[in-house]
């Protein structure tokens, strides 16, 4: 119940507004007691008058702040406007206060001062109270707005992370699909049986890449099947220019890995490595355990300068994905291991995998 009320902004405001002015009254009383002045009935009544008028005028002040939209962050002009509003309210506060005192004779006739004097005195003593009220109100709003933006920012970051993962995962190169279809069309005449197999493999890849969108993690076995289908199709296209080697530790097949990540690396190896070489080359895929890591390695014939110049998406997206999923726990590098051999290596912590199972 109380918690729900605390969430209601207008309840908080009225509680603070009432509580604040009562606290003001109590502190004035305390001041009077400690300064050891005599306490007459008139002083009580005057204090209550000040509290009630103060309460009413700060309610009015809030209305004006809302009306003129004097919320943080303020422009230079709005700062001046806020200052004027506060001064005008202070002035009217002291005027009304003094007028009321004058009207119902809330003073000791012997010590009577003029109306102007009383107004000036009230303005000097109560003006700062209104200023303090405005500062507190402004500070409250400032903190509230900043907390809200902070929360929005965090929420947005989460959303961006989600979206990034989705778009990266669904990435399968359209160039590959059309080239594969083109080779299959040629095969229909030349070798109908292998054309049939190729269509099955292409369907598998397309289906898997669509499913990958809804998966956070996928077993290595599934990923390897996709890569094998993919390479079999590219083999049709490249013919003798492509050699394929696998070195897969059977125990790694149950491990969970980010979907389509191995596929992206293999695609890169073909696009920037083998595809650039007239006489083609070899792609080797290794999956093994080292210490606490699952290591996935894609090696290809070629040199790194070609790979880096034209890449962008594959490497950057792999790095981003690993960063989003594992933070600093995962390692990725792409480097030349000899003049004519490039290696892309991903190391994923095994512990993380078990947590996810």
């Amino acid at each position: 119940m109380f918690a729900r009320l605390m969430k209601n902004k207008s309840f908080i405001y009225w509680a603070c507004q009432t509580g604040g002015w009562i606290a003001y009254g109590l502190s004035m009383l305390l001041y009077n007691f400690t300064s050891d002045q005599s306490f007459t009935r008139i002083k009580y009544e005057r204090l209550i008058t000040s509290m009630v008028f103060g309460f009413l005028f700060t309610v009015l002040l809030r209305q004006l702040i809302v009306k003129f939209r004097l919320h943080p962050p303020l422009s230079k002009i709005k700062w001046w406007l806020l200052l004027i509003v506060v001064l005008v309210i202070s002035l009217f506060y002291s005027l009304s206060n003094s007028a009321f005192v004058e009207l119902i004779h809330l003073y000791v006739p012997a010590q009577k001062i003029t109306f102007e004097q009383r107004t000036l005195y009230n303005f000097i003593s109560d003006g700062p109270i209104i200023c303090a009220w405005a500062s507190f109100y402004y500070l409250w709003q400032y903190i509230e707005i900043n907390t809200n933006t902070e929360i929005d920012k965090i929420r947005l970051q989460g959303l961006v992370k989600d979206l990034e993962l989705k778009t990266i995962k669904s990435h399968i190169n359209p160039h590959f699909i059309f080239n594969a279809l083109n080779s299959i069309r040629a095969l229909v005449d030349e070798n109908p049986e292998s054309a049939r197999t190729a269509i099955t493999k292409l369907s598998n890849i397309l289906r898997s890449s669509m499913q990958a969108e809804s998966l956070e993690m996928a077993p290595m076995e599934r990923e390897l099947t996709i890569v094998k289908d993919y390479l079999a199709l590219e083999k049709i296209r490249f013919e003798d220019r492509l050699n394929i080697e696998y070195d897969i530790n059977a125990n790694t097949l149950k491990q969970l890995v980010p979907p389509m990540m191995l596929q992206t690396l293999v695609e890169n190896a073909l696009k920037h490595g083998i595809g650039k070489l007239k006489s083609g080359g070899t792609v080797k895929i290794t999956s093994r355990f080292t210490d606490a890591f699952l290591e996935l390695i894609v090696e290809n014939t070629g040199s790194l300068s070609d790979t880096i110049n034209n890449d962008g998406f594959g490497v950057a997206s792999t790095r981003n994905r690993l960063n989003l999923l594992y933070g600093k726990e995962a390692i990725f590098h792409l480097k030349a291991i000899s003049d004519n051999l490039v290696e892309a290596k991903v190391c994923i912590p095994i512990a993380q995998n078990i947590e996810n199972v």
């Binding site: 359209p174 160039h175 059309f178 080239n179 279809l181 083109n182 080779s183 069309r185 040629a186 095969l187 005449d189 030349e190 049709i236 296209r237 490249f238 013919e239 595809g275 650039k276 070489l277 007239k278």
Partner: protein, 244 residues
């Protein structure tokens, strides 16, 4: 109906096979040969001098664009590509046709039809003499990532910069790796004149001629504000050529 000779350039055997098979439907297109990469293609263009190239863009070591930039006098070109529509955005003048693989037979027929028309028109026009490049020949220029496919007659000026030549047309000034002497040998003298050591000008782009000191001439080129000096020695030749 005359025969169009064609060369297929693609690094994939199956892609070449498929295109060859599709071209059987066009009896007047004769596929004279195939090439699996740009270097092979250069040799075979030299050898067969085909009317038409079917050219893949993505090939190992040199792209289709690189190949075109190395050919002097261009045959007709139809690009074949799987997914490189964006590559055509690089063209300043998008005058070449392209087919997306797998090729749609209808689009293939359209593209061949267009080529036939163009070739028919050109056979009426008197070609430039002795295999030289005349004003109506198309040239392909590649400078870094940018490519242009333009009529040679639109070039107003070639300027020598070391081993390179700067080609002036419209607002563009791309560099090509060719010496001015090599260019001079290839260009038809009736259209292009060697003004001095550094410049070859298009005679049809001359706006104004003024005498210059030392017995030379000063030429204003049309619309561009470039002023080119004709050296004393070349002025003699210029006057000879231009007089009745």
């Amino acid at each position: 109906m005359y025969t169009i000779t064609a060369l297929i350039v693609d690094d994939e055997r199956l892609a070449r096979l498929e295109l060859r098979r599709m071209l059987q439907a066009f009896p007047n297109v004769e596929v004279v040969d195939e090439a699996a990469n740009a270097d092979e293609a250069l040799e075979k263009i030299e050898q067969h001098n085909p009317d038409l190239l079917f050219l893949d863009i993505q090939m190992p070591s040199k792209t289709g664009f690189d190949l075109l930039a190395e050919i002097g006098k261009l045959p007709k070109v139809i690009f074949t590509t799987a997914y490189d529509e964006f590559a055509f955005k690089a063209f300043e003048v998008n005058a070449m046709d392209y087919l997306l693989k797998p090729i749609d037979p209808k689009r293939l027929a359209e593209a061949i039809g267009k080529v036939q028309e163009e070739i028919a028109k050109e056979r009426i026009v008197v070609p430039a003499s002795r295999g030289l490049l005349g004003e109506n020949d198309m040239i392909f220029i590649k400078d870094g990532e940018r490519c242009w496919f333009i009529r040679l007659g639109d070039v107003r000026l070639f300027e020598s910069i070391g081993n390179y030549a700067k080609v002036f047309f419209g607002n563009n000034k791309p560099l090509i790796l060719k010496s001015l002497n090599a260019l001079e040998e290839k260009l038809d003298e009736r259209f292009f004149f060697r003004a001095n050591r550094k410049h070859i000008i298009n005679l049809q782009c001359i706006e104004k001629i003024e005498p210059y000191f030392n017995g030379g001439l000063l030429i204003d080129l049309k619309g561009s504000g470039e002023r080119i000096e004709i050296s004393r020695r070349q002025t003699v030749r210029f006057k000879e050529m231009m007089s009745l």
